[in-house]
Structures are given as C-alpha cells and as structure tokens.
Symmetry: C2
Subunit: 211 residues, 2 copies
Amino acid sequence: MSLSDRLSFKDQAFRLREEAVMAATTRLLASKGFDLMTMDDVALEVGISKPSLYKHFKSKEDLATEAMVRLLDGALDFLAGQDAALTPLQRLQDLLAWALRVRLQGGLPFLPSGSPQVRAMLVRSLRYVTRVLKLNGQLDRIVTQAKQQGALRADLPNDVILYNYYSRTCDPAVEYLQLYGKYDSDAIVAHMLSVVFDGLAPPRADSADAG
Amino acid sequence: MSLSDRLSFKDQAFRLREEAVMAATTRLLASKGFDLMTMDDVALEVGISKPSLYKHFKSKEDLATEAMVRLLDGALDFLAGQDAALTPLQRLQDLLAWALRVRLQGGLPFLPSGSPQVRAMLVRSLRYVTRVLKLNGQLDRIVTQAKQQGALRADLPNDVILYNYYSRTCDPAVEYLQLYGKYDSDAIVAHMLSVVFDGLAPPRADSADAG
DNA sequence: AAAAAATGCTACTCGTTAGTAAAAGAGAAT
DNA sequence: ATTCTCTTTTACTAACGAGTAGCATTTTTT
C-alpha cells in the first residue's frame, strides 16, 4: 500500500530486482566463491543483462560486500530479537544454529574463508567493518557472561573462543556432510553444535571432583 | 653419490627445480587458493619462466593436484611412522597437531575448502583419490578403536567425527589467530586441539554419575 | 672439438571477465 | 498523443591468465 502510493511501477520493479540480485549474489558467492562468481553469472541468474547490474551496484566488490553486510545485519537482528530470558550459552548456540541453517540453505558464512585478497576487499568497506565490530563486541560480551556462569571454559581466551565459533559457519564439514546426503539439515546442525561445545571426546566425569 | 653417478648435472638441477616448484606451488595454493594462484606467480617465485613449468607439469591442474598428493602422502607417512604404543586418541591428536603445524607454516589443509570446481578437479585425479581413500580408511579404523576404548564419543557417527576432524586443518580460526600475532604456533595448536576434542563448554562433572 | 639433444626464454595466441558507450525501448508527465 | 527521462540491451574495450611456438643456450656425446 504505502509502496504503491509513493513509488512508480518502475521504481517498484527496480527494488524487487535489487532483491533478486542480492539473492543470486549470495547464492553464487556461497557456492562458487568471490573469484569464480562472474557478473555474467549473476545477471543470467536474475534474468537481466550485465550492465543492468551496474545500475544497482557500482562494482563486483560492492555487490559482494553488500551481500556480506546483509548477512551480518541478519545475525545482528537475530541477536537483537532473542528472548531476554535466554542464558548466554543458549544465545550463542541459537545464533550458531541459525548461521548453520543459513549456510545449509546456500547462504554465506560469517568469516570470508580463503584468500587474503577477499579479506582485504571487505576490510576496505566501512559498512562491512562497522558490522563486524558490532557483532564482535556483542558476542564478546555474551562469551564473557557465559564464562562467568561457568557455561564456557574460562581457560580459553575470548578471541580463541570467538574465532572457533565464527569459523564453524564456514566449516567444510557442514558442506561435506550435506553432500553425503546421509544426514538432513537438523541432524547436521545438531551434530555440529554438539561437537563445537562438547568436543569429540566424551565428558570426563573424573576431571573436577575426583582429584 | 648414487645420484651423481647416474644422473647428469642437468637432470640433478631439473629434480631440484622440481622440488622448488612444488614448494612454491604449495605455498601459493595455501595462501591464495587455486583460482588466484597464477602460473606466472609460481614461475616468478621459483625464478624460472612460465614455459619451463610445463616441462615439469603439464597443466595447472596437474601442479595443484600433485601438491595435494604430496600432503596426503606426508600424512600417510606420519601415520605409518607413529609409535605402536600410542593410543588411538593420541595418534589422532598427534596427526592433527602435525597437520596444523604444516598449515601454520604455509602448507595445505587436508580438505580442499571452497569451490566445487576445485573438488571436482581433484576427484578427477586417480593419484589423489587413492590417497584420500587410504587416509580415510586408516583414520576410520583408528576412530573406531578410540571409540571402543571410550576415548571418543560413541554417539557420533564415524563420518561426522572424521569430517569435523579433517575440517580443522582448514579452519580459518587458525589463520585468523595467527594473523593476530598474539599467539605463537604452539599456543594455537594447543588451543585448537583442546577445542576440537574437549569443546568450548567446560567438562560436566555431573553428567555420568550424578543422575 | 663439433655435432646432437635437450632445456630455457621471449614473444606470442586464445579465451575469459570486469566494466563501458551508445543505441533502443518503456514508462511518466504535459 | 507526444515529448522527456530513465532503464535496458547489444556490442564493444582493456586487461589478465593458461598454454604454446620457435629461437637461443648449454650440456652431453662422439
């Protein structure tokens, strides 16, 4: 309603196409990576021609960066929308589950895996860096809270925990297990969460009290 | 001696250069990835010209595949050379530590992270596939042994354990923590091993006996 | 010492891809 | 209805990268 009133048909179509472009970019970035994703790929997938892309985004760099920004905004929104009653540990677990599901549906990981070039490209973008710092700050606080509650290991520095956490969203294990076809998304998410927080070794009942 | 006797100067130089080519390829593959590594890069790093590379390897694909094959051979050698007295868990931990150190020194990860194209390329190579199957088989047996000894969680399928294990060798967390400069290699390896096997959550002393 | 064989290098080809210019087309305003 | 503006497209350019042809050089062999 409010859209149709204010915007012309052309503008509406333009916005819709922009969303389609973002969706295609995200999918292609996640599957092929930045280097192998061509602007022609994106154009073809959206069903428009390459120069039209440049009406929306001024470069490939811009396009890719925007995709990452949207992912991080999604994560920040997810955090902001979480139930206040949740424990810090549950907040972390739920966010990771969300990120893994995003990934399993063809979305992007939190960390740009791979080449320093891509990292450098992202860091050039203020829009991107802002989000990273915000997410980092929020998660760092939650990790500290979880440690205070005894829900995360106090012997690990926060950054070690955080990078281990982030990196799980681009863990190839997810991809490979999905490729297998043996497990559905729920099973993969459950397994991954279990492994991240509890580890591959069984709980050692003798560790705390026995000695 | 035996080399100088049988091989001409030319042949010796040729072999030495071939090693230099492999070393450069490995380093560049690890840092830039397959797509961004150019044959000119390799040639420049070795100090020879591009066409000379093609006397050693018939294509970029060949070159990259050979680098992966050597890594896997290294892993298989490491396994073969392990002390027979080691527990299965220790064997897994030591191999992972070895792989992480390789990675921290600019080497390749076990899993080709990223694009399906690269995966497809590797799978085309029989030399590569042979090694993968061999390593998979050996590690699968060790994992089963470790489970029987209660050293690994029996509730996780072997393949879930294995892919989580493999994927740690290309975990960006390693890269990022190294980038930080705050931790030395030993600390990073120790932290990673600890996280992989024990998880981010503290041991739950109440889990097995209390209920 | 001279011919023979093999390697290394300079200078190319061909294909691919990011990005652009100018024409063609569709919607909006008078 | 007609003009005006904005968008879309076809057809390009420029750069880069994989792989090659043919010449120069160097080692080996007779």
